[in-house]
């Protein structure tokens, strides 16, 4: 346990002043603008929004700047701000089938209605650092291609579901759990797990997802579909008596098709994992869908043997703000605690020495 300490105000003030200086860096170099951060480091901003659990690109860009690019610090800042906001209400569930698609790929079918659209992806790049990144060369405008006549992009899951080859979306009209309002009870339902995963640490979930692929709770997954794009946020307006769209947000959705099971007497069917994340972040959405599927072990009568299947382990450790708080608090003054440990250790050693001495004397 750490204890309160007094003093140090002057040093703390100077440390913060020094931090502000180092954050700003060389004054001869122009300061970063929020437009630059939100526009050119947009995936960092997206990650901060997703794990900060607040969709607001400007605020997330401010947090990235304030934190000197330390994204977990930025996430912490956004979470702290979030707690100051009154909650006006809940949106209607977003409808990802009506997304304006910016990217859509499937690893299960090469020909899907609506087609595959690569969008702005790192896939198929050579991962060689581009010398042009050291300069400010003109960047060509993207090519434009007339869009096809209102071609619909049905969800790949619906194609499989039409044949009865995959478990359908479960239905429920109950009010979803909210971990920002109520303490978590175990076992947790899937709605609560999805909320926790959606704001969970990308690195932690990535590693857990990876562990399931390597045999720790294997799920044998295929990417049914990943889609990135803009969806409407619709809110009921009690003042007006109807719902309106208040704007659009960018999200990433991953539908993972997993090992087939025959658990509900419907014959063997593929099972599913689901990932949904603020912003463009398919690594996170994919990791989330792997972990979501692993955490459904009980539903499919699977033995919980691996960390990714242990919901208390996953949910209690996936939040990087909680994790960083507890790990980093270790550097705060623990003088009294440590003093007690020291005293105890000295006592033990003294007793040890006395025992050895008396034994020697006896011999």
């Amino acid at each position: 346990m750490y204890v309160a300490v007094k003093g140090g105000e002057a040093a703390i003030e100077q440390a913060h002043r020094l931090l502000a200086d180092r954050r700003r860096g060389d004054r001869a170099v122009p300061a970063l603008s929020l437009e630059q951060i939100a526009g050119q480091l947009s995936l960092a901003v997206d990650r901060v929004m997703a794990e900060g659990s607040l969709y607001d690109p400007d605020l997330a860009a401010m947090a990235v700047r304030q934190s000197r690019g330390d994204l977990i610090e930025a996430i912490f800042l956004l979470r702290a701000y979030r707690t100051t906001l009154p909650r006006f209400g809940y949106s209607r569930p977003i409808d990802t089938s009506r997304m304006q698609i910016e990217r859509r790929v499937s690893a299960t079918y090469k020909d899907i209605p609506g087609g595959q659209l690569l969008g702005p992806t790192f896939d198929y790049t050579h991962r060689l650092i581009d010398p042009a990144m050291a300069t400010d060369e003109e960047v060509a405008a993207p090519q434009r291609q007339p869009r096809r006549e209102r071609e619909s992009c049905p969800r790949v899951m619906d194609i499989l579901n039409d044949e009865g080859l995959i478990e359908p979306d479960g239905q429920s009209d109950s009010e979803p759990a909210d971990l920002t309002r109520d303490p978590t009870d175990y076992p947790a339902a899937r709605d609560l797990r999805l909320q926790a995963l959606a704001r969970g640490d990308e690195g932690f979930l990535l590693s857990l997802g990876y562990s399931t692929q390597r045999g720790y709770g294997r799920t044998h997954p295929f990417v049914g579909e990943i889609r990135v794009g803009l969806v409407e946020v619709e809110v009921e307006m009690p003042e007006l008596g109807f719902a309106i769209s208040i704007g659009r947000i960018r999200i990433t959705e991953c539908q993972m098709v997993s090992q087939f099971k025959n658990t509900d007497g419907e014959g063997p069917r593929f099972t599913r994992g689901y990932g949904l994340v603020f912003g463009q972040s398919e690594r996170k959405a994919m990791a989330m869908s792997l972990v979501d599927r692993a955490l459904r072990a009980d539903e499919f009568g699977e033995q919980r043997m691996a960390p990714a299947q242990d919901e208390e382990f996953v949910l209690e450790h996936c939040d990087n703000v909680q994790a960083t708080g507890f790990v980093e608090h270790l550097k705060l003054p623990h003088y009294v605690d440590f003093q007690a440990e020291l005293d105890l250790l000295r006592l033990l050693r003294r007793e040890d020495a006395e025992r050895a001495e008396s034994q020697e004397a006896a011999e």
Binding site: A50, S53, L54, Y55, D56, D58, L85, P86, R87, F88, G89, Y90, S91, P93, I94, T96, S97, Q100, R103, K110, G115, Q116, L117, L118, G119, P142, R144, Q145, P146, R147, R148, M157, D169, G170, Q171, S172, S174, P176, A177, T180, R190, L194, Q195, A198, V233, V235, E239, L240, F242, I244, S245, I246, G247, R248, I251, E253, Q255, R272, Y274, L276
Partner: protein, 152 residues
């Protein structure tokens, strides 16, 4: 015009204005506000959050995905017409402008002008942005070919 139609029009106007970039809205609003009846604040503009929900599997049970910052405002005209606005983001002035326009739109003599000068251009901007995004995305459409492996 029946009330159902009016409600639908009001909703569409609110949605178009909410989607309009604040700077573009402000330009057009300024011209209108010079001559329009003024409004009094009733509530806000007030910044808060809306919990955005998703559905497990895309179509299943709802879950809480995360919050989004929003701003709401309510204003009143001298004649008692109340205007409401909720917009994504933290732009109080934008919410106030939308609420004022929503109130003005309840005065029959203002409907046409607001629709012509703000709602229709807002929808046009939105369509252009959507079209551009769709066309840029379309250029990345891919056809994968499966190669037969040489084992047979």
């Amino acid at each position: 015009m029946n009330t159902e139609q009016q409600t639908a029009d009001r909703r569409r106007a609110l949605e178009a204005m909410a989607a309009m970039p604040a700077a573009r809205l402000a330009e057009r609003y300024a011209r209108l506000a010079e001559v329009a009846p003024a409004s009094l604040p009733v509530r806000g503009p007030e910044i808060g959050a809306v919990m955005v929900r998703g559905r497990a599997g895309g179509g299943g049970a709802a879950f809480n995905l995360g919050e989004a910052s929003v701003t709401r405002a309510t204003v009143k005209l001298a004649g008692g017409e109340i205007g409401h606005a909720v917009v994504l983001g933290r732009d109080g002035e934008k919410a106030r402008m939308v609420a004022h326009l929503d109130a003005l739109r309840q005065l029959p003599e203002w409907v046409q002008r607001i629709d012509d000068e703000i709602v229709i251009p807002a929808r046009q901007l939105q369509n252009d942005a959507e079209c551009r995004l769709a066309e840029e995305t379309e250029a990345t459409r891919v056809n994968f070919f499966t190669l037969v492996r040489g084992e047979d």
